[in-house]
């Protein structure tokens, strides 16, 4: 291996550390904004924006209780795995006009696989805690995973297929390519409606993926007393809350990458470091707006569904909306 190769690997490692660090901080910061916005919508004052940070530091000093009938190495290992899997997805997502850190090493199909890892981690952790509440929560989480996968994949496949029709020579599932060619510019009026339906599908899959109201059945504070997380305390719970915060950023960034990859630097004739700066800022604004719609607004406006209703909602109406969007895009392409 040459010196240059080693240098690139070193740069990637430094980049990974920076992105992991920023991702966690950004996740907690956006969680604070989310809680503040939700409070404002309910005519409350709400907690300060740094509240999630204080919660995190508090949880870190708390005692870590491992239940008697839990499997300790799984019970303690799963929170770390969940957080690491979530942060890994960040390396594959483009930020502003900066291409993904590991671009070329994995595409959006890998991201979909990685997205199931935190959920699987929580399921394993729930079963390992040896509590009936966590057990029920874990089973519900598995049902949820099976439910939202089809609409999510439909969205991704539709965009990939459309790109493959327009640019057959490109690697269509690479996020850098998707980021460079927004779907809205490639389709006609019929396909535009289809893309809109796909956006709706993804917007409804997001709260399910994040276990937020109305799809928070695995955690269900009022009936399952915290569900999957019921036995977790102290450091493990802090790691799970970090993973949840980062996953919010991941899912919202995915929406941005798939549907709103626009940058504004060229409007101001900026280049170099200024372009990166302003595009990153614009990216943060996009994240905020989409998080408000996909997470905060839905969370405040709706009440929790039952698990059979969640399953039905994902399998029947949402899958139909997604497939309709897909077929509209196909129809649009064939008719041209």
């Amino acid at each position: 291996m040459t010196i240059e190769g080693l240098l690139i690997i070193l740069l990637k490692i430094i980049g990974a550390v920076i992105i992991a660090f920023l991702g966690v901080i950004l996740g907690l910061f956006y969680k604070g904004i989310d809680r503040k916005l939700a409070a404002k919508m309910q005519a409350r004052v709400g907690p300060p924006i740094r509240q999630p940070f204080m919660d995190f530091f508090k949880l870190m000093i708390k005692e870590n209780i491992v239940p008697e009938n839990a499997v300790p190495w799984i019970f303690n290992g799963v929170p770390v795995m969940t957080l690491v899997a979530t942060i890994t997805i960040l390396f594959y997502l483009p930020i502003g006009n900066i291409s993904p850190l590991l671009s070329g090493y994995g595409d959006i199909v890998l991201i979909i696989y990685l997205l199931t890892l935190p959920a699987i981690g929580m399921v394993v952790g729930g079963f390992a805690s040896g509590s009936p509440y966590a057990n029920v929560g874990a089973q519900r989480e598995m049902v949820m995973m099976m439910s939202y996968e089809l609409p999510l994949v439909t969205t991704v496949i539709a965009i990939g297929w459309k790109l493959s029709q327009v640019y057959p020579q490109l690697n269509v599932f690479s996020l850098a390519v998707i980021n460079a060619h927004p779907i809205w510019g490639l389709v006609g009026p019929l396909g535009f409606v289809g893309a809109l339906l796909l956006l709706i599908t993804l917007a409804i899959v997001t709260p399910g993926e994040l276990s937020k109201i109305p799809f928070d059945v695995p955690e269900a504070e009022t009936e399952l007393a915290g569900g999957l997380l019921v036995e977790y305390s102290g450091r493990n719970l802090a790691l799970f809350s970090l993973a949840d915060a980062v996953k919010t950023i991941v899912m919202v960034s995915l929406t941005v990458a798939l549907f709103f990859p626009y940058n504004i630097a060229h409007l101001f004739d900026l280049s170099g470091i200024f372009a990166i700066g302003i595009d990153s800022l614009f990216f943060l604004v996009k994240l905020l707006l989409i998080m408000f719609v996909e997470v905060t607004f839905i969370r405040v406006a709706a009440a929790r569904l039952k698990i059979d209703q969640v399953s039905y909602a994902y399998w029947v109406p949402l899958s139909i909306i997604g497939l309709l969007g897909l077929s509209l895009i196909v129809l649009d392409t064939i008719m041209i």
């Binding site: 940070f53 204080m54 919660d55 530091f57 209780i65 915290g226 977790y232 305390s233």
Partner: protein, 149 residues
């Protein structure tokens, strides 16, 4: 036991009913409504004692609940505080010599703050949590002064 300055700013409370008439329980819920909004102090109602920092105990302890109270107290991870809400839990109230009671809460588990009232007002509960906050702050100061202990 460790404490840091973020601890008081993010007290997660677990509500434990040891035989209350539900009057105080409703007032606790009232504290979380938009009018009183306990969340602005970082106070959150959690569903599991494993997540809790503060136990809000309401009602006098019945014979059946005594064992459960102890178990919930032991399940709450350290550091923790216990706040007794309502006259019944504080002293037994009008039921002080009832045949089916074991006694007020402080005969079963150590209590940090008492909030009297029948039922208590949400303002009183907020004040009670504030007292627990001050108590934890003093504890932290004393721990800082004598780090070996």
């Amino acid at each position: 036991m460790k404490l840091n300055k973020y601890f008081e700013r993010s007290l997660w409370v677990f509500h434990l009913n040891t035989g209350s008439c539900n009057g105080c329980d409703i007032e606790i819920v009232a504290g979380l409504t938009p009018r009183y909004d306990l969340e602005r102090f970082g106070i959150k109602l959690v569903g599991s004692p494993k997540h809790a920092d503060v136990l809000l105990v309401t009602g006098p302890v019945t014979h059946k609940m005594a064992d459960r109270v102890k178990r919930v107290y032991e399940q709450t991870p350290d550091p923790k505080a216990v706040i007794v809400v309502g006259t019944c839990g504080t002293s037994g109230g009008v039921f002080y010599d009832s045949y089916n009671l074991l006694g007020p809460v402080d005969e079963i588990i150590p209590v940090d703050v008492y909030v009297p009232g029948c039922p208590v007002r949400p303002e009183a509960i907020i004040n009670g949590v504030l007292q627990a906050w001050i108590k934890l702050e003093n504890l932290r100061e004393s721990m800082k002064a004598a780090p070996t202990k």
